[in-house]
């Protein structure tokens, strides 16, 4: 994945403190661009997801999150990031 | 309808609901409530209302609950056992603040405790006990009014006699004064406003932060409302010959009518006896009972039960006069019909008996 240009069509706002760390969003994300923090905890003591490049704005995460943590946006113009940028 | 017509009590109650604007009824057959249901099944469609042949008592009161929550005047009912099944709902309707008339057609007088103290928790309802068909017509309407006024169920305590007695009655809409708007009623339109309405026994305030329902708060509020209601509702009572009576007979409902008849007869024969007929069983007309008792030697309670209202009489009199229970359960072999003791003869002799023992029968009289 990291050797191809990554196209990012969407992005999120994550309400970190609303998260209860269930990880349902992680498996739900088709391009697998969400990952749980390993050390950082939110104010309630839970690990929470962070977003990496490649979101498609598909809403899978927001539709499955039991705690309404996500707002999903679609870019008017998709963002393309070259692998070299890493 | 202002011409008197011969109507069976059940039909008259149904007609009274109709003229009072009740437009939703749900019930399940059970003697002696059955005919009220039949009456509503017949009348509701004609006036654009709904009568549901509910599949059980619990479903019946649930349906009425749903209709009442939309602001429609709604009623249900049953008899002792069926009302027992409705108890959870009756108590919780108070917490949900949903108005409703519950037609409590008792098989005998023995459901007084259930009607006045039957539910769980501290929820209580107004209970109205007519003595005959004309009163049933009036209190049915008053019950619907009070239910709306206090957003609380009201019980109409009738019995086998009221259900099955045919009398010439006039069923006309009664006006008991203005009522507050039902701005709480659900109709869907508040959705999406940020203040969508909620009707719930768990509380009526929509959550604005993330604490969820606060039941402690809600119960405290309902309790305040109940106290206010109980203070505001004028207990209804009929008294007769209490001023100089040495013996007072207390009885409610149809037995109260028998007792009144007997007391009148005995008065005419010179016996110093009087009567008190509580009409609101809750709030109980304690003050009237107490006043009547003060000059008397004895307060005798007649009930068609092992003695239930007698507790409320004792609580009213609190030792200021002797209390005697002169009632007892009387029923026929089917337990629906009329027991041998509920008749002028036996009741009269029970009353006379107390009066004799209390020395208020002058020699030569009677």
């Amino acid at each position: 994945m990291s050797n191809q240009p990554s196209v990012t069509r969407g992005t999120l706002v994550i309400d970190v403190d609303a998260c209860k760390g269930c990880e349902l969003c992680i498996d739900a994300c088709p391009p697998r661009v969400l990952e749980m923090t390993t050390h950082e905890l939110n104010s309630r003591g839970y690990r929470y997801p962070v977003l990496f490049d490649g979101c498609t704005g598909c809403r899978a995460c927001s539709q499955i999150c039991p705690d309404f943590v996500f707002q999903v946006y679609k870019y008017e113009t998709p963002m393309v990031r070259e692998p070299s940028e890493e | 309808m202002s011409e008197p017509a011969l109507m069976e009590g059940s039909a008259a109650i149904a007609e009274a609901m109709v003229v009072a604007g009740c437009r939703f009824f749900a019930g399940y057959p059970m003697t002696p409530f059955t005919e009220v249901l039949e009456g509503m099944a017949k009348r509701m469609p004609a006036v654009g209302g709904v009568c549901m042949n509910a599949e059980s008592e619990i479903e019946a009161i649930g349906m009425a609950w749903g209709a009442a929550a939309t602001g429609v005047r709604a009623a249900t009912g049953s008899t002792g056992q069926g009302l027992a099944l409705m108890q959870e709902s009756i108590s919780e309707l108070t917490l949900a603040r949903v108005p409703m008339l519950v037609i409590n057609m008792a098989r005998s007088g023995a459901d007084y405790f259930q009607a006045t103290r039957g539910g769980h928790g501290d929820s209580r309802q107004i209970v109205l006990a007519p003595m005959d068909v004309p009163e049933a017509v009036e209190f049915t309407q008053l019950g619907l009014h009070l239910a709306d006024k206090y957003r609380n169920p009201v019980l109409l305590y009738g019995d086998y006699f009221i259900a099955h007695t045919y009398e010439s009655v006039v069923v006309e809409r009664r006006d008991f004064g203005p009522l507050p708007d039902k701005d709480w009623a659900l109709d869907g339109t508040s959705g999406g406003s940020g203040r969508a309405k909620l009707i719930s026994p768990l509380g009526e305030v929509k959550q604005r932060d993330d604490v969820g329902y606060d039941l402690a708060d809600h119960h405290a509020q309902v309790e305040r409302d109940l106290v206010a209601m109980e203070r505001e509702v004028e207990p209804l009572v009929e008294t007769g010959y209490t001023d100089d009576a040495e013996v007072i007979i207390v009885a409610f409902g149809t037995p109260g009518k028998f007792v009144r008849y007997c007391v009148r007869e005995l008065r005419a024969e010179g016996v110093r006896v009087g009567y008190v007929r509580p009409i609101t069983l809750h709030p109980f007309p304690s003050e009237a009972v107490r006043q009547a008792a003060l000059g008397a030697a004895c307060v005798a309670v007649y009930e068609n039960s092992a003695g239930q209202m007698v507790d409320d009489v004792r609580l009213a009199v609190l030792g200021a006069a002797d209390i005697e229970f002169i009632g007892g359960l009387t029923m026929d072999s089917s337990a629906f019909g009329v027991g041998p003791e509920i008749a002028v003869g036996p009741i009269r002799s029970k009353i006379l008996d107390v009066c004799r023992r209390r020395g208020c029968v002058t020699e030569g009289s009677v």
Binding site: E23, D27, P30, F52 | A64, T70, A196
Partner: protein, 268 residues
């Protein structure tokens, strides 16, 4: 999978500065307060979201009534911006019937759990279905009484371990699970009956379409409509949140099989 640290984390604390279009908000319009006390990984809020989205998307925000049962999902009855009537345990279908009959213009949807609907109030929903009430009943089926601590319900599948079937539900001792949707589908008044699940995004989408269809059937006056939704209850199942979606598929999902069981509007 690359370690997270070798890729830059996107800033998700606020909407981006470049031109964007909001395609999914934290909560749909009819959920007023998103925060709730339900457990991590609970499937019920997911189902709730779908239902509220459908009502909002179909333009029914101002003529809808949700009637709630008693279970964990009850927490939502005062979180919504949809009008709500809270019922006692098991009684939602009767309340919905009364409300709908009194105000036929109300789009009326009940939300009940399996304990509420299939245990305490089984006959309420069956009677409502037989009557063909023009209401939509939604069953959130997690196979346990979540709220009281994870006990067996009438839908618990054979072998499933619950708080009071510690060795797993055995048919000899505890009987067989009731397939609620199938039972309802057998009644003449039922016009639409379907079973979905919220254990993955695909199923969430499918389930939402079922709810949509059920509302359509209600609006068409075609009869009673019913959607059973299998939901995760990691707490009541005594498993990890991440294992719950597969557990759902393997246990309750294998017995309460998904799909549309009946659609008389389509058949007609």
């Amino acid at each position: 999978m690359p370690a997270p640290d070798d890729r830059p984390v996107i800033d998700t604390s606020a909407p981006p500065e470049v031109p964007v279009r909001l395609v999914d908000d934290f909560t749909p319009d009819l959920i007023d307060v998103g925060a709730h006390h339900l457990c991590p990984g609970c499937g019920e809020p997911i189902a709730m979201r779908s239902i509220m989205e459908v009502l909002a998307e179909q333009g029914l925000m101002q003529r809808s009534l949700a009637v709630f049962g008693i279970g964990c999902y009850t927490a939502f009855s005062n979180n919504l911006d949809c009008e709500v009537l809270q019922a006692l345990h098991g009684r939602a279908p009767s309340l919905a019937t009364g409300a709908k009959r009194a105000r036929p213009e109300l789009v009326t949807v009940t939300v009940q759990g399996d304990g509420d609907m299939v245990n305490e109030g089984l006959q309420e929903v069956l009677h409502a279905a037989a009557r063909g009430e023009a209401i939509t009943c939604v069953l959130l089926n997690n196979g346990v009484f979540g709220e009281t601590g994870g006990h067996m319900t009438a839908t618990t599948t054979l072998g499933q371990r619950t708080k009071n079937t510690l060795e797993g539900r055995s048919s000899a001792e505890h009987g067989h699970p009731i397939q609620a949707a199938s039972l309802v589908a057998g009644l003449d008044g039922a016009a639409y009956v379907a079973r979905g699940a919220v254990n993955n995004a695909g199923n969430v989408a499918k389930t939402k379409r079922m709810v949509e269809r059920a509302i359509e059937v209600q609006l068409a006056g075609a009869g009673f409509s019913f959607v059973e939704i299998l939901t995760m209850c990691p707490t009541g199942w005594f498993i990890e949140t991440v294992d719950a979606p597969d557990y759902l598929a393997d246990t309750i999902g294998a017995v309460h099989v998904g799909g549309v069981l009946k659609d008389t509007l389509a058949d007609a």
